[in-house]
Every structure is written in structure tokens, then in C-alpha cells.
């Protein structure tokens, strides 16, 4: 096993991504969850930078800058402000207990690696081995969304899923075209704004951010 240094760094960062995904899956506190999310954004930025430097793809520098600004600075700041305003810092509750979630998560990672294997073998990029990890990140973030009953952690899960997708894009094809990346960045921003409004509306209506209250909206 004699990989070039850049590949080794990328693999290391990918492993950190996966680790952070698991950490988010098991984290009960919202404040720590946001910090983990910012950390994941930072890892993503670093890995994009390394890929950009090693392959000489100039547009990846821009997307790294975009990722840094959006996912390390703006979104965590917005989320911090939100939970301060809503004072839900200590919200702790998951629908399934943490160990079970961990086990399900491990099954998902194995599945993701198996699914990604044939694609990785076809890909000629230096990052090909990280595709499975990227897919696992997406699935774990999805699981995070499913297992939370509060609105803010669900949104963080949604954003983390976007991180995973972005990671998959850089690892499989050296990133998407710039236009598409800008579009997705804008979507995330707008989605955040809308969801922020929804938080306040939900709390005003039910005096809590527990989305189980939304079950009342069902017909009959």
C-alpha cells in the first residue's frame, strides 16, 4: 500500500467525515450538534482544497471558499442565533435509543460501501476510494433526521446530508459545474431562511418545537 501523500490526506479527511457523521448521529445536545456540523464543514473544505491542489482544478478553490463561508461561518452562526432566540439549547431526546441507532448506522455504512464498490472501480479519480464514505455520510445524515423528534436537529441532519452529497460530488467527478454549486448553495441558504421562519411559527402555535405536535394536522 503505497499511496501518494495527497491521497492519504484525502482518505484521512474522509475518515474524519465519517467519524463526525457518527458523532452527529449520537449527539443529544443541540449546541454540540451545531459545532459538529461546523467541524464537518471545515473537513469538507480541507478535503476540497487538497483535491484542488493535487489535481490543479481551479474551480474547486472557489467551491472550497464557498463551502467555508456557507457551512463553517454563516449557517452555524444562524443556527446558534436561532437556538438562542428559541432557547432550546438543552433539548435532548431521540426516538430510538442511541446504541440501537449506532448499530443501524454500522449496517448502513457496510451497505454504502458495498453499493459504491462497482462505481469506485470504474472511476479514475484519485479520490475514488472515498465514494463509499460519502454515500455513508448521506445515509447517516438521513438517519439523523429520522431519529430526531425536534425541528432544529432535523434541519441540521438535512444540512449534513447536503455535506455528504457535496463530498460525493468531489470524490466521484472532482465537483459539479460551478453553476450547479452556486445553485445548491443558494438553495441551502433559502431553505435555511424558510425553515427559520417555520421554527418560529411552530413554536408560536404549539409552544414547543416538538414536531410530534404536527401529528394533529392529519386528516380526521
Amino acid at each position: 500500500m503505497n499511496l501518494p501523500l495527497t491521497s492519504q490526506i484525502i482518505n484521512l479527511l474522509a475518515a474524519i467525515m465519517l467519524l463526525l457523521s457518527f458523532a452527529m448521529l449520537t449527539q443529544r445536545r443541540i449546541l454540540s450538534l451545531i459545532n459538529l456540523f461546523a467541524l464537518q464543514g471545515l473537513t469538507l473544505t480541507l478535503s476540497t482544497l487538497v483535491v484542488a491542489w493535487s489535481t490543479g482544478q481551479d474551480h474547486l478553490y472557489y467551491s472550497a471558499a464557498l463551502t467555508f463561508a456557507l457551512k463553517v461561518l454563516i449557517l452555524p452562526w444562524v443556527l446558534h442565533r436561532l437556538i438562542r432566540k428559541l432557547s432550546v439549547k438543552w433539548d435532548v431526546e431521540t426516538l430510538i435509543n442511541i446504541p440501537t441507532t449506532m448499530l443501524v448506522g454500522i449496517v448502513l455504512v457496510i451497505l454504502a460501501f458495498n453499493v459504491a464498490l462497482p462505481i469506485s472501480q470504474l472511476a479514475g479519480t484519485i479520490t475514488k476510494s472515498t465514494l463509499g464514505i460519502a454515500l455513508a455520510c448521506v445515509l447517516l445524515a438521513f438517519l439523523t433526521m429520522i431519529t430526531r423528534s425536534k425541528a432544529v436537529p432535523q434541519v441540521i441532519g438535512f444540512l449534513a446530508m447536503e455535506n455528504g452529497l457535496f463530498f460525493a460530488a468531489t470524490s466521484a467527478t472532482y465537483g459539479m459545474p460551478m453553476v450547479v454549486e452556486f445553485g445548491i448553495a443558494l438553495d441551502v441558504m433559502v431553505g435555511m431562511v424558510i425553515l427559520g421562519v417555520f421554527f418560529f411559527q411552530i413554536r408560536e402555535r404549539f409552544d414547543s418545537l416538538d414536531i410530534r405536535h404536527l401529528e394533529k394536522l392529519k386528516e380526521e
Partner: protein
Amino acid sequence: MPESGSALQLILGVILLWLALGLAGVFFPRNLHLVSRVLFPVGALGALVLATAALDALGGDTQSLVLPLGLPDLPFHLRLDPLSAFFLLLLGAVTAGISVFAAGYFRKGEGTPPGLQCLYYHVFIASMALVLLADDAYGFMVFWETMALSSYFLVTSDHAKAEIRRAGFLYLLIAHVGAIGILLCFGLLHGTGDYTFDNMREVQLAPFWATIAFALALFGFGAKAGMLPLHVWLPEAHPAAPSPVSALMSAVMLKTAIYGLLRVLFDLLHVQVWWWGVVILVLGLATALYGVIFSAVQSDMKRLLAYSSIENIGFILVGVGLTVIFQSYGMRALAALALTATLYHCINHAYFKSLLFLATGSVLHATHERALGKLGGLIHRMPWVAWLALVGTLAIAGLPPLNGFVSEWLLLQAFLFTPNLPHPYLNMLIPVAAAAVALAAALAGYVMVKFYGVVFLGQPREERLKEARDAGLLERAGLVWLAAGCIALGVAPVSVIGFIDSVTSQLLGKTLGASATGWMFLTPISPARASYAPFLFLLVILAVWLATWLAVRRFYHGRVRRAPPWDCGFPAQTARMQDTAEGFGQPIRQVFEPFFRMQRELPTPFDATPRYRVSVEDNLWYWLYLPLARVTEALTRVVTLLQRGRISVYLMYSFVTLLILLLFVR
């Protein structure tokens, strides 16, 4: 008169004008003066231009155009051929009259503001024109749906009433069920190529698939036309809509469905099988009989006319069925005769039915009453409306020399040739169908006597009817235009058939050639068999009338004396002793009792305040629609189990789907 090359551009210009008028209405929704004095009359002018351009294109070459609109790689194709031109002519000519009438009809405070009505109305007619021009399935479906939606908003313009909302929903539902049929039909027809009609003309379908495509087309277009099991929306939606809209829907929109059926049957499909014709014929006959029997027992004047529309669509379908039968046996001259009768009846029905619907609109505005039991004697208060409605009534009853007679006569002529068919059962059974057509036509006359007699003749049944005022100038102008059309179509059939000939030669490759014996005599096959000279007929009628009038002037007292009618020696007569709508329809109700689901409440002889109530409902509603609704509801309840109201569960659904797809794709 435009050059023949520019007819399509001119028509597109009119469509753009209509859309612009609609938009102008949106910006001034409550400016009644602008809407009624400028927008609607200009729209009527546009309709006239469109009719002229279509008339011009009827004899000219086929023109086509690709609009740079629509999805990428999927532009709208337009084509103006004789078949489209004929229906565009119908649309333009009738819409001109209806728009002028509508200018005087829409008022403030009746549901939707006038500006928005103006938008829906003009979008509706523009989309109908585009449906007729469309030359690819994509454009056709887009315009078809636009037509359905804009007419839905027109139908529910008085949406404060629950029953009008209900009627609108039923209409929208059946319109969409039908649209699915049409969509699937196009899906079959396009084979492996693209969705242009040009491609569909090339595709050779296997007989089985051609039959499926035919069945889907009949289902889809039948739903829009009001064919028998799919007719239930029509008697609900037509009375709910404002009168100009009912007129437009009945006169033009139902015809777009006939247009679609003809387009698929004779243009897009490359074969016709004889038993398709039998299916259409039988369904058409059933529709005609059902429509006329139900219209005889109605006691609401707009419902009566709506059922009469169903009956007329039945006649038209009978004509289409005969055309298919003749064409599949290669009897092209007879096919041309049947198709001519069909198209002729399309334009006739457009004229007289819109005339009658508009007349009911005037009556409705003057009296605020739709129930036949509370009208009567309006000929004295509203002479213009009454006399013009009389023209429409006589035309729809099929009396010469008006237009209804011509098409019914041509259709019966076509029936008389069915014994020549080379099929042992058909040539024996179809003459029986001719008898049924004759029965329906006679009953239509009966219905029209009831309609006219109860509304306009006799004594006013309510005190306040005496304050009824005649229609305004614009309304009268619209009615006069349509009544003049009824007379012109009846008196000059040979010239009309000259225009229809270009359609029959396009679809069947053969024309009727009726103009061979001069403009005065209409001879469908040969002078030895039958001919009809409507102009002479009119002259004789006028001569007899003139002679009678002169004789009365000269040899009798010579002046008009108004006196009370003979009262049979019982002077204390009141308006309530007149024959009522229910009473007039009673024989039909007795004879055709199995058709109805009737509920009757009879008063006892000792009742101080006697009440008689009868409600007549459609059996099909109970046999077909309610069971269907129950099945749908049960299925929906099963599907509702998926709805848990928990976001986690919903997320789980997409998660599991994602996992399964990931595993499956591997």
C-alpha cells in the same frame, strides 16, 4: 379578405388579440364600462375576422407553422387544414354573436367581477381555437387542459352557491378522466416516433392496438362531448354557468370533442373497422334518446336545453358512426353524405343552441327565474327575445325551411342507403336505428313546444313577471346575428355544403358534389331519389303568409281588435290553470318510466295547503357513478393508512425507498 397564405397568421393574430383583451380585463376587474363597451365588442370583431380567415382557408391549401414556444425540443406545431378551418369557422361565427351578447350580459355583483369573467372568457375561446389548430399531441393536450380549466372557472363564476361548486367539481373531474383517455390514445398512436401528428399519420398500428386507440379516443372525447355513460356533468355544468358561457360550452366546446374524434378516426388512424362504426352508432342513438327523454321531463329551462344538447351530440355521433361504417366498406359517396350531415349538424347545433341559451339568459335577467313553473306569457313583455327564440325553437325542432331540418334530412337520407351494405345483419338492423333517430327527432319537437309554450306563451304565472323588460340593444344584436345564421344555413344549404366538401375530400377523398344541380336544389345522391329546395319552401311560406294577411286586410274587417280570449263559459280563469311544464311532460314520464328514478309526493284531497312534488333522477347515477365513487373511497381509505402525520415516518418512507433503489440498481 386576406391572402390565402396569411390565414394562419391572421388567426394567430386574433388569438393574441383575445389574450390581450383578457389581460386588459385583469387590470381593470371592476370597470364594467370598459369590459362591456370595449373589450367584448372588440373580441366579437376578432371572432368575425377569425371566421373570415377560416372561410378563406377552407378552400385553400394546408398551412403549418412551428411556434417557438413550449418545452425545449418540443415546440408547438400548428396546422390549418380544411377540417380545422371548418371548426374554426364555426367557432368564429358563433362566438361573434355570443360575445356581442355577453357585452350586454355580464353585470356587477353577479359572482366573479366582470374583468375576470372577461379574462376567463377570452382565454377559453383562444384555447379552443388553439386546440383546433394544434398539430402535435403535446400542444393539443396543453390547449385542451387550458380549455377545461378556463371553462371550469367560468362555470363556477357564481361560486358562493354550494350546488354550483359541486357542478363545477363534477365537470372538472370528468374532464380530467376524459383527458387521461386522450393522452393514452396519443401515447398509442405515436408508435416509436415523436409526438407530432405528422408522425402519427405515418405510423401503422396493428389492428388490436388500433382498436384500443379508437376506444380510448371515443372514451376521452366522448367524456367531453357528453356521450351516454359520461354525460352526467353536462346537465349540471350548463345550468350553473352564466348564459353566454353555457352557450359557448354547448355550441363550441362540445364540437371540439367531435373535432378531436374526427381527427383521430379519419386523419391519424390509418384504418377504420366496420364495427367501430356500429359502436359509435349505438352509443350515439342511446345518447340521443336518453337526452331527449330527459329533456322532456325537466322543469328548469337551462337543464332542459342541456339535455337537448346531449340529444344533439347523439345525432352527431350517429352521423360519425354511419360515416365509419360506409367508409370501411369503401362506399365513399355515402360516407361523404353521412359526414356532410354530421358536420352540417355541428354548425346548426352551434347556431340554434347558442341562440336558445342566450335567450334563456335574457329571460333570467329580466325575471330572475329559471324554473319553468314560474314563467309564462313573456312574448308580450319581451317581444324581441321571444320572436328570436321562436326562430331557434323552430330550427331545433327540425322544421323547414330552417337549418335543423337540412341536417336531419341529410342524416335520414344517409340511413336510407344502409340496405346497400354488404353485411347481412347490418343492412337489416340499421334501418331500425333510423326509426329511433326519427323518434328522437320527433320528441325533440315535442320538447321544444314545451320550452317555448311554457316560457313565452300563455299567461304570466307570477305577478312580478309583468314587470319584465326586453333585452338591451347589445343582447338583441347578438340574438339577431345567431337567428340570421339559422335562417341563412337553412335557406342556402348548397353553398354551405360547398364549404363542407373540402373537409370531406380531405378526410374521405370524396365529396358530395351537391352543387351539380344548381344552387336552389339540394340533391344528395341523385335527383330521382330525393331533393329539397329550401328557398322555394321559404318563398311559398312567405307567399301564403302574405296572401293571408292581404286577404284579412282586404276582405275582413281590416283592423286589429284586441279582445279577451274565449273562456269556455268560465270567466274566473287564472294563470295557474294553464298547462304546466310537469303536466306537459307527464305522458313522456309515463311512457318511458323505466328510464327514470322518480319520487313523487301527492297531496291528499283534504290537505289545506296541497303540495305536489316530483323529482326525476338519472338511473345511471345510481347504477354506475355511485358504486364507482364507493370503490374509489374504499381504495382511498387504504391509501390513507400511509398517512401517519409523523415526519419521522415520512422520512422513513423516503429512506427505505432510497435503500431499496440503491440495492436494486446494483
